[in-house]
């Protein structure tokens, strides 16, 4: 395997593995938020805001992986 091939593999692995965790996290977050809305429909607005904020945090980790994969 030459250096160029290793570089491409590194790029793909960085974003691929980096997207795995945040994907799971966002799924769990939205699932829990939906459960909460189902239990307490009046609080939908507040739950949605908090959920979007938390999703943004989880997404940021995927974005770090993306930045790394671009700089490799």
């Amino acid at each position: 395997m030459d250096a160029e091939a290793a570089r491409f593999l590194g790029k793909a692995l960085a974003i691929g593995l980096g997207a795995l965790g945040p994907g799971l996290g966002i799924g769990i977050l939205s699932g829990k938020a939906l459960e909460a809305i189902g239990r307490n429909p009046e609080a939908e607005g507040k739950i949605r805001t908090t959920m979007i904020l938390a999703i943004a945090f989880a997404e940021a980790i995927a974005i770090y992986a993306l930045v790394v994969s671009f700089t490799i």
Partner: protein, 289 residues
């Protein structure tokens, strides 16, 4: 593909004026004009739609701040809301249709050398003349008219390269790093304002080995705050630019519009996250420890 780093438009002495700096100045200019006009209208006691819009933004955000910090000062509110408005307008300015398309097309020539080695040819007089006149080659003749010609030809290609005039300021690491550092400085000032210089006891506490170690951890977390602030904002906006570029080139522009709408949403969310995190860290700095 949008470049990872901003392009340099021109130099003022040794200062590089990049396209993101130019766009940031334009955004500053428009936001200032908007605020100044609103301020003049308020001073004249004239109820205008501008005032209504500004108050809507201000009250909505100030309500969020009041939820986190009980009684914030006006300086704190304006400091944090300035972050929100600057980041939001920078993010949204980058999505305007002329931003990725307006630029200066530069034609420059690219020189490529290719070496052809021709062996055992009977070089004709014209070939030799050509070779001599271009001073490009090396000929060694073994016998008379049986030559090894080392012809290195020079290919000159015209390459056009676009120098973009505009770029979303938040898609530039230096801009987001500046915002992150400013935010941390603001948080530290708020901490000093509430606790005095004993705020730094959080970082440098030598009353015991455990406290000293916790101080080091606090210091590291302060640095990691800067890094995460920087790359969260930069990465999201830059990834949005790449996403729009890829979608445009994949589907010939058909599927671009929903992604542009998505990027408007992401731009708002990121500005809000930056604003809210700064507020939360400020409330942490003000809390007793």
């Amino acid at each position: 593909m949008p470049s990872f780093t901003p392009e340099v438009l021109f130099h003022i002495f040794s200062l590089n004026i990049t396209n993101s700096l130019l766009t940031a100045l334009i955004v500053f200019f428009f936001v200032s004009i908007f605020i100044i006009i609103t301020g003049i209208n308020i001073r004249k006691n004239r109820l205008s739609k501008l005032q209504l819009a500004t108050e809507l933004i201000y009250e909505g955000l100030a309500g969020n701040i009041r939820d986190i910090i009980g009684k914030p000062s006006n300086t704190l509110i304006s400091f944090v809301i300035t972050f929100f408005i600057m980041i939001l307008s920078s993010n949204w300015f980058g999505l305007l249709p002329f931003v990725p398309s307006v630029g200066l097309v530069e034609n420059h020539t690219q020189e490529t050398h290719s070496v052809n080695i021709v062996k055992d040819v009977k070089a004709s007089a014209t070939d030799l003349e050509y070779v001599e006149s271009h001073d490009l080659s090396f000929i060694s003749c073994v016998k008379e008219r049986n030559c090894v010609i080392n012809l290195s030809t020079l290919k000159i290609q015209k390459v056009s390269h676009m120098l973009h005039l505009f770029r979303a300021p938040t898609a530039d690491v230096s801009f987001t790093l500046t915002l992150a550092v400013l935010s941390i400085i603001g948080i530290t000032i708020i901490g000093i304002g509430t606790h005095g210089f004993s705020y730094f006891k959080k970082f440098f506490d030598f009353s015991g080995p455990i406290q000293a170690f916790v101080g080091i951890l606090e210091l590291i977390s302060e640095i990691s705050k800067i890094i995460s602030f920087t790359f969260r904002l930069f990465g999201n906006i830059y990834a949005g630019e790449v996403l729009i570029f890829v979608m445009t080139s994949l589907t010939y522009g058909i599927a671009t519009i929903p992604f542009i709408l998505l990027e408007f949403f992401v731009g708002f969310i990121q500005a809000f996250v930056f604003f809210l995190l700064t507020t939360v860290f400020m409330s942490l700095a003000m809390a007793h420890h």
